[in-house]
Structures are given as C-alpha cells and as structure tokens.
C-alpha cells in the first residue's frame, strides 16, 4: 500500500504488527472465511510440512480441539478479525485446517433452517 513508508510514524503499533503477522497477504474470499465459517484442525497426515509462524501455530492450537467459528477464533485470541481471517486462510491453504462455510442463502434452504432454528429455540427455552 505504502511504497516509501514515509508516514510510518503515524501508524499505530498494532497495525504494523498485524502486517508482520499476515506477511502482507490480502484478505481471503469472504464466502470462504466468513464470520460464521466453522474451522477445525485436520488430521496431521494431510498437512504440508511447512514451518508455521508463531501466530499460525497459536491459531492452529486453538482450532485443534474442535470446531470454532472464525469470529470465535478472533474473540479468543483477541487478534483483529482481518488478521485472523488471513492467518486462517493460510492454514487452510497448507492443509492444516478445514472449513465449513455457511450454506448459501436460498429460499427453500432458509425455510428449513428457520424451522430448525425455531424448534431449537422452543426446545431450549420452552
């Protein structure tokens, strides 16, 4: 974005750090890693053997005990959402994570989902 870096002193410290964490990569496709896309670690045999950055390792560890939404990973790690999405995308690309994106919206699918949501609320709260 900024070629010369002459404005560097105006950048807040955390923004600079975020750039280092993401290695300057861009935001992944929103459909693939939306706020409510569920992510979890893959079994180890399918993974590419690349060295992970400390943040990649940290996010992978958090995802290793079950499914979490992208928003939850950000909430638990207290990293900015944009940074989390980029690091998770990189982990997905290298085969360390698998993702379950939400179903695309369609009228019929919505109706079924909404019925399920309504029944679930009744079961839970009476």
């Amino acid at each position: 974005m900024r070629a010369g870096g002459e404005d560097f002193e105006f950048e807040p410290a955390d923004l600079v750090r975020a750039y280092i964490i993401t290695k300057g990569r861009e935001l992944p496709d929103e459909q693939q890693l939306s706020l409510i896309t569920l992510v979890t670690a893959t079994p180890e045999e399918g993974r590419r053997l690349n060295r992970l950055t400390p943040e990649e390792q940290r996010l992978l560890d958090i995802c290793s005990a079950g499914y979490l939404s992208v928003a939850e990973v950000a909430g638990h790690t207290r990293l900015p959402l944009g940074v989390v999405r980029i690091v998770l995308a990189s982990l997905t690309e290298s085969g360390h994570l698998m993702t379950r994106p939400p179903v695309p919206r369609a009228r019929n699918a919505d109706k079924e989902l909404l019925e399920e949501v309504l029944n679930g609320l009744h079961r839970k709260f009476g």
Binding site: F10, P12, L15, E30, S34, L35, I36, T37, L38, T40, R58, D61, I62, S64, A65, G66, Y67, L68, S69, A71, E72, A74, G75, H76, T77, R78, P80, L81, G82, V84, R100, P102, V103, P104, R105, R107, D110, K111, L113, L114, E115, E116, V117, L118, N119, G120, L121, H122, R123, K124, F125
Partner: protein, 203 residues
Amino acid sequence: MGSTASSGDRRGLTTDAYVADGATQTAVKILVVGHFAVGKTTFIGSISEIEPLSTEETMTQAAEAVDDLKGVRGKTTTTVALDFGRLTLSDRVVLYLFGTPGQTRFVQMWEDMARGALGALILVDPERLADSFPVIDLIEQYGLDYAIAVNHFDGNPERAERALREALDLLDETPVVTCDARNEQSSAAALTTLVRYLLDRAS
C-alpha cells in the same frame, strides 16, 4: 460457560468453548442491532451458551472526512467492537448472535454482518426513538427482515405501541415485542418472535 479467553494460553479453551457437533452443523447468524447503550450486549449475554466474546475490527472512517479534503490526508481509523454469542440449537444448526453497532459509517462492517444473516432484531428505547432511525434505515438498506424489541412501554401499552409504530413508520406485519434484555426468557421470547416472523416471510 466455562470458556477461558486468556490470550496467553495456547490450549486454554475448555471443551464447551467448541461447537459441540461442529462436523455436522451449519452456522447461521442473526443480528442484534440498536443504538449505543440500548442493551445489545446484555441481550446476547442473557441467552448465549458461551460467555459473550468480542472481536475488534479497525475501520477507516471515510464518511466524515469526505467533505474535508485536508482531513482525507490523515485518514482516521477507529476500532469497532462486535460482541457475539452462540446458541447450539440442534445437531444440525448453531446460531450466532452478533451485536452490531448502529453507526452508518462502518459500511464494510455492515456488509460483512448483513451478508447471509437470517434477519435482525432491533432493540429500541422508546425514550430515544430518534436514535433508532439510522439503525432501521441501515437494516432496510441491506434488505434484512426485522422485528422490534422495546425495552419498556410506559402507561397504556396498546396506545404506546401504536405511537411507536407510527413514529418508526413500521409495516403492519412487523412484530413489536417488549423485552427485558437482562432476562433469559424474555430475550428468548423476542428472538422466537423474530424467527417465527422470518419463517412466515419465507413461506
């Protein structure tokens, strides 16, 4: 409720922090919106199965600087916090509730939030009705169906509801419920009203 959010812990999350049947579930979301301090976080906290989490996004505040060319050079950024909670509703569906601030200037965030949302519950304080106008405009702009949850009605509730419908220019079919955001049952009832309405609209 046993999730520990300590950022230093690598494996500091207890099992109930995770989506129970994540391998089979689809995630859906509903927005809980309203003006500042109307009770969005309280609402989410009262029915979420996890301790509500917060994620921060750094935003560029473009809208306010547009008219002031000198201001554009030092583009200001601000941080918006999104509070959210989770409800596992079946082995097929997990529902996320996102508390979304009503400021119109966070366009990118609103697009992210609105995309794929089932609908929105708009929390309204009848004593600060004017503060709700921009929020309702935004929800309509993104084409989301919504219900109104009012924190209280003073005096005659029927007359108060009629006045509120008129003031907010609501469609006749838009549900209006009273809701004490601190109370689990009351919050759940408001959410149920919204979902029943969304289902009617989808049928």
